[in-house]
Amino acid sequence: MSTPLAATAATAALAAAGLLPTLAVVGARPVAVLMAPLAGAVVAAAAGACSLGFGGGLVAWFCGLAAVAAAGAAAAVGPPGRRRRRRSSATPGDGGGRPSVVRAAGLLVVVGAAAVGLVALRAPSTGFDARTIWLLHGVWFADGHSVALAALRNPALTFAHASYPPLVGASVGLSWLVTGEHSYRLGVVVIAVLNACAVTSAASVAIEAALAGRPAGGRRRLAAAGGVVVAGALVLAAFGVAGPFATNGYADLLWASAAVGAVGYGLVLPLERRHVAAACLLLAVAGLTKDEGIATAMAIVLLVALRLGRGGRCRRVEGVTVGLAGVAVLGAWPVLVRLLGAAPDQATIGRRQGSDLSRAGAAVSAMVPHLHVLLLAAGVAVVGALVLGGPRRRLAIGNDGWAWGALGAGAAAVVAAYAAGGGNVEFWLATSVHRTTFFPALAGWWIVGTWAVVALASAGADAPGAARQRLDAADGGVLHHRA
């Protein structure tokens, strides 16, 4: 089987497992096509964790958990009659009429932009971490419980970070087992496809933001077209931020863009149940991919819970529930690997040098050259808050402070890791800081994109009724229940 065919089959297998849960989460929208492989990768991660913890093969666990997830999704959505009633009671334009055309056009644009980024796959690059971490994890998960457990406990494999979360390794291992094509090349391509799915899912936030308000007449078309164009530009900008790491088997873009998508769905778009659910799915992807993803995802979960909880006692209970459940789920993997006796992870080599403060200063200095976009984002955000704050609120788009809070929390987590970690911090920074700044850099681009959408949408007059209705949903308002 050729690598493109095998990659297609592997992605289809992941998408098949994730499709029903995704449809239950986001509804029958084009973005479900982008999120389904990610949801399937979450199922694969759960299968990998179960195989590691309880024994049994990866494929058996994957099929079983996919069936359970599909049954749960079907039960959550309900029978066909109930689905029709829900659809008819949705707000005007939801899932039908022009918004569906805009979403379909947006899907084509973001997929086209991702295809431009994936052109780099023509060079069969297999990066350093791809060989030492992600593809090795794929080998262990594909080989089954005993091999994976032995690797996790092996202190000679510190360079392989065996205790990293299982999403990438399990997805790669599954792709080999499903296709019978045990090549590193297939693993690299599958990781690149997952990267692209996460980036395009995050970019779809711009399309949803453009549809959140309802400017009248031709201005509405301008806003919608602007949202689609911004989404495509964000995809390309993300590939620019990641450079070679988007297509050489690295997974940093996967967790970072998933986390940025979660910020968009959970902290930027109007508080609707499907948006919060989409944020939860993307947070699961971020938290099951890399340790930095766990820390950042936990911070985002707490911010989403805080935003949810700003609407009376009932909403506070909901916010606390989401926060506690999110932290518990995201913390499950670190607890599991400790229970299984994982060998200590070694982030870098050499003796620890410098104080916490000096290491934090070195980290900040090294991060700055990769975060120039934050200057643009800060400028646009400050002026935008002054002149576009009203239109932003009328569009029911969350306060920009939420996104900046998530960005700051993610960057602070990275600085804290460098400050408190071991080894030679200069060497560690030189070999990783480009990638550990993906999340704040992407968040900066998404902040710019959101203000661009707000500016385009505010170019016309809002329809007062729709705007007021949406305003109720903003920042801790009514949580709409939709299919």
């Binding site: 932009a113 690059s125 000679a156 964000l234 935008g384 710019v448 500016a455």
Partner: protein, 139 residues
């Protein structure tokens, strides 16, 4: 007017980011990148073949830490099919990389195994001519 300016600045900034991304991808797909990636693949395939000529899959090996760069390189070639350990007494061999620019080398390196009985063997079965190592990968 100021609102429009905010929109223009944001869109122009995004456009610049998008152009950078597209150019970056096109550059990475260029002939030089393709050649470097192919050479890198051949190098690691060569090292893997040589190591497998010395140790059967699934057996325990120690990867020599005498040279940190070689340790990392050999780890990438071996850890997928052998059990890497720190305990020499439990391992069938200690694997290391040795400089060798003659025929039968992988870009100027050969895999060498030192067995528990004191025997030393060079890996064989594959070679990539030329000076090494391959171009450094981005980190």
């Amino acid at each position: 007017m100021v609102r429009a300016a905010v929109g223009v600045v944001a869109v122009v900034g995004l456009g610049a980011g998008a152009v950078h991304g597209a150019r970056s991808a096109a550059s990475l797909a260029g002939a030089r990148s393709v050649a470097a990636a192919n050479l890198d693949d051949r190098y690691y395939d060569c090292l893997t073949t040589q190591a497998r000529s010395l140790v059967p899959p699934g057996r325990r090996v120690v990867i020599s830490t005498a040279n940190l760069a070689n340790w990392g390189t050999l780890g990438k070639a071996v850890a997928g099919w052998a059990v890497v350990t720190r305990h020499r007494r439990r391992a069938v061999a200690v694997l290391s990389l040795a400089a060798d620019h003659g025929p039968g080398a992988c870009l100027g390196s050969v895999v060498v195994a030192r067995y528990a009985d004191g025997a030393v063997r060079r890996g064989h079965g594959a070679s990539v001519p030329g000076p090494g190592p391959p171009p450094a990968e981005p980190l």
